[in-house]
């Protein structure tokens, strides 16, 4: 990027980051109030049947849950500013909630990344081909297929995949992230760790565990990426510059790559970034079906156990990730679209 454009872009990023932190603060307040207004609570989750009013009061006092909510919130903010998010009470009691996020997050990234990858690898070529044969049987069939992806509840698709590939045919593992091979942990990304440490059986096992959940989860971005690609390619094919390119006698490959896809990819790139939110929601369902130890599963357990610290951290971090990814998408948009970049 030329020097003169760096200034505005940097300023833009800083402004976005400031706004972002504002949103996170507001969100943290809303989240705090929401969690505290949920029926039930940490204490019930810890004590179960044996909760007596005394043990309840004792625990509430010890946890500071008997204080007024505004006081609890200030304490929470104070701690959060010091980087302390509190200890978990349900998911992994005693562990710092942020550590739990750090332990669990790589799993979700691995899963989401592979899901996006699958979706992109299949959806973009399919979207292109469908657009080129607009109205033909291939187009209609792939449109219907992509909409089936929308119509099938993701947890049911997850179950179907598991039922056939894992249980019935025994091709892939049923659940979890890896067999207990005693693998070395470096980054928390199991596939990567295995490659780094050359424990290739670990990578292989992790990959096999990833396939089914990733395909299930891929159904969410797949439909969207396909439709956007198809629509974008249709739009671009109609553009004059494509006709110009044809008039120049350029080869099909150059026209497809430089003139059609490069332009059509602009909305597609944005869309892929935007799928992060939907992916997180889908991950909760998918990880539940595959007992895949990511933040989706942790979120479900934390919710069930009313583990406030963990819920707060997970949701705030999810929101942060979401916002950061959006920012990255906007920046990448600026990078790939000269009209934005050199404005």
């Amino acid at each position: 990027m030329p020097k003169e454009v760096c200034g505005p872009v940097l300023r833009y990023i800083i402004r976005r980051l400031l706004q972002m932190s504002g949103v996170i603060v507001v969100l943290s307040l809303l989240l705090f109030l929401w969690l505290r207004s949920l029926p039930g609570g940490t204490v019930s989750a810890i004590l179960g049947e044996r909760a007596t009013p005394e043990s309840r009061a004792r625990l509430e006092k010890a946890l500071g849950l008997d204080e007024p909510i505004y006081l609890q919130y200030f304490r929470f903010v104070g701690r959060a500013l010091r980087g302390e998010f509190g200890a978990s009470t349900g998911v992994l009691p005693g562990r710092d909630a942020f550590d739990i996020f750090l332990t669990r997050f790589p799993a979700t990234i691995e899963l989401s990344f592979l899901a996006i990858l699958i979706a992109v690898v299949v959806a973009i070529p399919l979207g292109y081909v469908a657009a080129r044969s607009r109205g033909g049987w291939l187009d209609n069939a792939s449109v219907v297929a992509s909409l089936i992806g929308v119509a099938v509840p993701v947890f049911f698709l997850a179950f179907l995949l598991k039922y056939f590939f894992a249980i019935k045919w025994g091709l892939l593992p049923v659940s979890g992230r890896q067999e207990s091979l005693g693998c070395t942990r470096v980054t928390g990304f199991f596939v990567l760790d295995g490659l780094l440490t050359r424990e290739f059986d670990c990578s292989w096992s992790a990959l096999r565990h990833l396939i089914l959940p990733a395909f299930a989860l891929a159904s969410i971005p797949f439909a969207v990426v396909f439709r956007i690609t198809r629509a974008a390619v249709l739009d671009v094919l109609d553009e004059d510059y494509v006709r110009t390119a044809e008039a120049k006698g350029l080869t099909k490959q150059v026209i497809r790559g430089r003139h059609v896809l490069r332009n059509a990819m602009l909305p597609v790139v944005t869309t892929i970034g935007l799928q992060v939110g939907a992916l997180l929601a889908g991950a909760v369902l998918t990880e539940k079906v595959f007992a895949f130890g990511g933040i989706g599963e942790a979120l479900a357990i934390a919710f069930q156990m009313r583990d406030y610290s963990v819920l707060q951290v997970l949701i705030l971090m999810a929101a942060t990730v979401f916002v950061v990814v959006n920012l990255l998408v906007d920046i990448s948009y600026a990078v790939i679209d000269p009209r934005v970049r050199t404005r």
Binding site: Y241, R243, T244, A245, E246, A247, K248, H259, L266, P338
Partner: protein, 327 residues
Amino acid sequence: MMSDAPLLSVEDLTVTFGRRGQEPFRAVDGVSFQVRPGQTVGLVGESGCGKSVTSLAIMGLLPQRGNTVSGRVDFEGTNLLELSTDDMRDRRGRDIAMVFQDPLSSLNPVVPVGVQVTEVLERHRGMTRKAAMPVAADLLRRVGIPDPDRRIKDYPHQMSGGMRQRALIAIALACAPRLLIADEPTTALDVTIQAQILALLKELVEDTGTALIMITHDLGVVAGLCDEVNVLYGGRIVERGARHPLFRDPRHPYTNGLLGSIPRLDAVGERLTPIPGSVADNLPWDHACAFAPRCSQPIERCTQVTPVLEESFGRALRCHNPVEVPR
């Protein structure tokens, strides 16, 4: 400089659009004309008259589905309509080039202008990007873009409308084609720029000996540029003639009408007389003259018998009741 063997010979070109369940529609209906090397030929008519479809048919750029093309398009003795798509690809940009109407939308917004020039050279001249760059800069200089070495890195949105059109012309002329088709190249531009671009085109065509097909709705454009003019209406040529005779003595009521709707500096005080109605009022050519409903002097025969194109003394006319006294 005009030789007798035509460079391009279009014979009985017919393009029919059809959609499932709808009446097929003939956009171009038996059009024939010739272009000799170095000659500038105009195709004139309102939007919807078939002039753009004709040019696209010559270029082989019509959509692959939903239309049928018949007739012949002989270019240097080869019928372009029978070429395979790959062979046609080899010719486009090298032998025949085209400049489109809207210079902004005709340039790829995400690719630097320079690359859009060099890619033609890479394709047809087999040059590398690196070798093509100075050539491209030179081309840009030739079409009058100042500081081409810097401009070559610009994106289309960073250029003005006129400059973009110049860049498009540079792209079209990059491989020194023998035929250039310009489809309304000035319509989207400011009036002052229009004149510059037309002058540029004229200059370049004369310098390089490139034949030019000028497609426009604006007889004013034709007047300054073309050797021969074809007037199209409803997919058929209704009148043809060399520039001066045609302008001086338009025989077809439509040509006459078109001339009448041009503001003229030498006719102060005269009212402009637009042609009434629109293309939607057309009759089918089958048993009538399509222009009859809008014609200023229709006779009974016009709605009963299809007029034929009759040639005489280098002019051609398709009319039952030609204009005797031009307005």
